[in-house]
């Protein structure tokens, strides 16, 4: 066992930090540090910057334009970016769909889809869940019927994050209605195709990131089929596994905890800092303890991943990481008192918009909106109850 951080990794951290200082524009960092969903223009701008530095895809192999970094370096990179307030990069393209495409897709599809992800020109929506297929995803009913060189798609997807601003949708469809898992295929669909209707779903934070998407005789070229027909479940599972590996979101939680500290040191009660009120600091300390535990469980998962991990790390991390982001949010909203109750409307996609917000400190907007959105953290990516069942069945043999 060797717990020392390699000096080369530490030097790498300094390199990333210096890069961020030099290249992350202050307006992006300001918007990135608040709790609203990142706006697409910021994401595109930042992804382009990373791409030009050669850091467009930290988790991809070099042959597809990735960095080839170790898991530890990816972790360091993510952490530094989060702490600096960099906008979240496209989780869908980089983490979930990209790896599935370079692993399973044919040469033509790879060439068509991967460069756009790298350059920040191709953003992904995840067309998986349906009204009748949530935790039981394989019960999905959206149909694709082959007609010559095209599939004709009919159905209804829900919870499609960013469908209103994405460039492509990774869509799970039934190509064989007789089979459950083995009748599922994976299509890459242009959201501008005729027959597609996107309807916004406003979440309880009064923000818009989620959508319903309706498919009415939508014609998708067969060349947009990922891998083989009826093998989509395999690919979807890989996507979800990619989602869960980073689902503890330690870098994000670190940023949120740092923000909570900052707020608790600046909000006051009759002149006394909130952090100094009896009972507050121990609750903060408990969050710190739980974050550190999660951080080192993530490090173990990343280190063991390359050797074929035995523990169901993804599920372990998903459960506790999602709980933690909610608990940090609770204490932050509480620390803000009235500013934790004010409605600070989501500014929308225009970076120059001047929202008409109620008064309050700079750190207030976005906190309660994010807190509301994160009620979904214990639901999305496979509800925590499903994860517990996976842990119990797959590892504990119950």
């Amino acid at each position: 066992m060797d717990f020392k951080l390699d000096p080369a990794d530490e030097a790498f951290r300094q390199e990333v930090r210096a890069f961020l200082k030099e290249n992350l524009p202050p307006d992006l960092a300001r918007r990135g540090a608040c709790g609203f969903h990142p706006i697409r223009a910021d994401q595109r701008r930042w992804q382009r910057t990373l791409f030009e530095r050669g850091w467009g895809a930290p988790n991809w192999p070099v042959e597809y334009g990735g960095t080839g970094w170790s898991h530890l370096r990816q972790f360091i990179f993510d952490e530094e970016c989060a702490l600096a307030g960099a906008p979240a990069t496209d989780n869908g393209g980089l983490r979930m769909f990209g790896p599935v495409i370079y692993t399973y897709a044919g040469a033509e599809l790879k060439a068509r889809l991967l460069p756009g992800i790298l350059k920040g020109e191709l953003y992904w929506g995840q067309g998986f869940s349906e009204p009748g297929a949530g935790s039981d995803l394989a019960a999905l009913a959206t149909r694709a019927v082959r007609d010559g060189d095209e599939y004709v798609v009919n159905g209804h997807k829900i919870w499609t994050t960013g469908a209103h601003t994405c460039d492509i949708i990774g869509l799970l469809v039934k190509t064989n209605p007789e089979a459950k898992q083995r009748g599922i295929s994976f299509l890459c669909v242009d959201p501008a195709t005729p027959g597609i209707t996107v309807r916004p779903i406003i979440d309880i934070g009064e923000a818009h990131s989620l959508n319903e998407v309706f498919f009415d005789n939508v014609r998708v070229p067969v060349s947009n089929l990922l891998g083989e027909e009826n093998k989509g479940w395999t690919y979807a599972k890989a996507v979800l596994e990619n989602e869960r590996a980073t689902s503890a979101e330690v870098p994000l939680n670190k940023r949120k905890l740092a923000q909570l500290r900052h707020i608790a040191m600046h909000e006051r009660s009759d002149g006394c800092r909130v952090i100094d009120l009896p009972g507050f600091a121990p609750r903060l300390a408990q969050l710190e303890v739980d974050l550190r535990a999660l951080e080192w469980l993530t490090l173990r998962a990343l280190t063991e991943k390359s050797e074929g991990a035995v523990l169901p790390y993804g599920s372990l991390l998903k459960v506790r990481g999602s709980e933690l982001v909610q608990r940090i949010g609770e204490l932050t909203v509480e620390a803000l008192e009235q500013y934790g109750s004010y409605l600070y409307a989501e500014p929308g996609e225009d970076p120059d918009a001047k929202p008409d917000w109620p008064p309050g400190p700079d750190y207030a907007p976005g906190v309660v909106a994010d807190f509301m959105y994160r009620r979904a953290a214990t639901i999305y990516g496979g509800a925590n109850e499903v994860q517990r069942t996976i842990i119990a069945r797959s590892f504990l043999g119950l």
């Binding site: 702490l83 173990r300 459960v319 069942t389 842990i391 504990l396």
Partner: protein
């Protein structure tokens, strides 16, 4: 960073596992007569297998390992709830002695490694409550460079079988000053020392030691006068990690015992493992166990950091492991039902061990409070970057 064990470490762990399963299993102990938790012949075997030497440097008769070896052994001890005083003598006292006085360490630790010397650390006092620097035992000047020791020490782990005591006493300063703590090494049967052995709820043994005018001279000093704190901190840091590693072993075994029980116990015509409510509790137990294991790794990694970062990491670990350990072992009892609270069945003993854990080297609450004080004192930016 590499979480894999070296071949030597793996051999150490495997041999410890085999030996302890065969010789020190809980089932054997449950029916053994209470004998102060000490078996001299077995202690000699510990020495022979190199366990007492595993985490000590070579110039002190050790095998050149460090905290990882101690943690590996303690985890195995935890799995079997071993009661032999390995932690008190082989970790806490040995590591404190190592840091306190290089010359005496080279002279005495080889004897400890050989099983021929059994020092215990007489440091904890009734009002310590986790604070390392809490020392009210007095070393009063008695002329000619001598002192007399006056005070009471409690929870001296392994004290019931110790032949020497490392005593912390105040030569200056207030009850919680870091400066002014002096360490002495004294014989267990020196005049003025009284010992009362105490059995703990988890079947291990400790001692209360009363010092009433014990005469010591500079020959009995460990390190410099008034400078004992650093050695205590060194010993406590390693002792804390070893305890946490033991707790991981305790939790892991408690979890599997419970799993096996659920697979065999039938109610309503089916085995208990088919109930989802119980499956989910077990999933929570695994999560807590693995978070705790991660905390032990982190604490080991932070041992080389400067004092403030090191102490914070140790507090983080002790708090988390204490909370997880209590949860896992309490769930273990709950999922067993009534048999879980019987002395004859194993699972309750795991809970008892974790109960004592909470009263050693500071409770989870104590360590959370330490971290809370830090939260209030340090700038937020500095905390985030750690």
């Amino acid at each position: 960073m590499d979480f894999r064990l070296t071949d030597e470490q793996e051999m150490l762990r495997d041999s410890a596992r085999r030996f302890l399963e065969k010789e020190c299993s809980l089932e054997q102990r449950l029916h053994a007569p209470v004998n102060g938790g000490f078996d001299a012949a077995r202690w000699a075997q510990f020495a022979e297998m190199g366990w007492l030497a595993a985490s000590l440097p070579e110039d002190c008769g050790g095998l050149g390992g460090d905290i990882v070896e101690a943690a590996l052994l303690m985890e195995e001890f935890g799995r079997n709830l071993v009661v032999d005083p390995f932690w008190g003598i082989g970790v806490l006292a040995a590591q404190t002695l190592l840091a306190a006085d290089a010359d005496k360490a080279r002279e005495l630790l080889p004897l400890l490694c050989a099983g021929e010397l059994r020092p215990a650390l007489a440091h904890h006092e009734v009002q310590s409550r986790g604070v390392i620097e809490h020392v009210t035992t007095q070393a009063r000047p008695a002329g000619d460079g001598a002192w007399t020791l006056h005070g009471e020490k409690t929870l001296v782990m392994g004290g019931n079988v110790a032949d020497r005591f490392i005593v912390s006493a105040r030569t200056s300063g207030g009850s919680r000053d870091r400066q002014g703590i002096t360490l002495f090494l004294i014989d267990a049967n020196v005049p003025g020392l009284q010992r009362r052995d105490v059995r703990l709820i988890d079947n291990r043994w400790s001692a209360e030691v009363t010092l009433d005018g014990v005469r010591v001279t500079s020959a009995d000093l460990l390190g410099a006068v008034g400078e004992g704190w650093a050695a205590l901190e060194y010993g406590h840091a390693r002792g804390l990690i070893a305890l946490c590693a033991e707790a991981v072993g305790v939790m892991e075994r408690a979890m599997w015992i419970t799993r096996d029980y659920l697979r065999t116990r039938k109610q309503f015509g089916v085995t208990l493992n088919t109930f989802q409510a119980l499956q989910h509790r077990m999933a929570e137990m695994l999560i807590e166990l693995e978070l705790s294991r991660s905390m032990v790794y982190r604490a080991m990694a932070y041992l080389v950091r400067p004092l403030a970062a090191r102490q914070a990491a140790l507090s983080v670990a002790k708090a988390r492991v204490g909370q997880s350990g209590r949860f896992v072992c309490a769930q273990g009892i709950q999922l067993h039902g009534g048999i879980g609270v019987t002395e004859e069945y194993s699972i309750g003993h795991y809970f008892k061990r974790m109960t004592v854990f909470e009263n050693e080297l500071g409770s989870a609450q104590f360590h959370l409070e330490q971290l809370a004080l830090r939260e209030c004192a340090e700038p937020a930016a500095a905390r985030a970057q750690n």
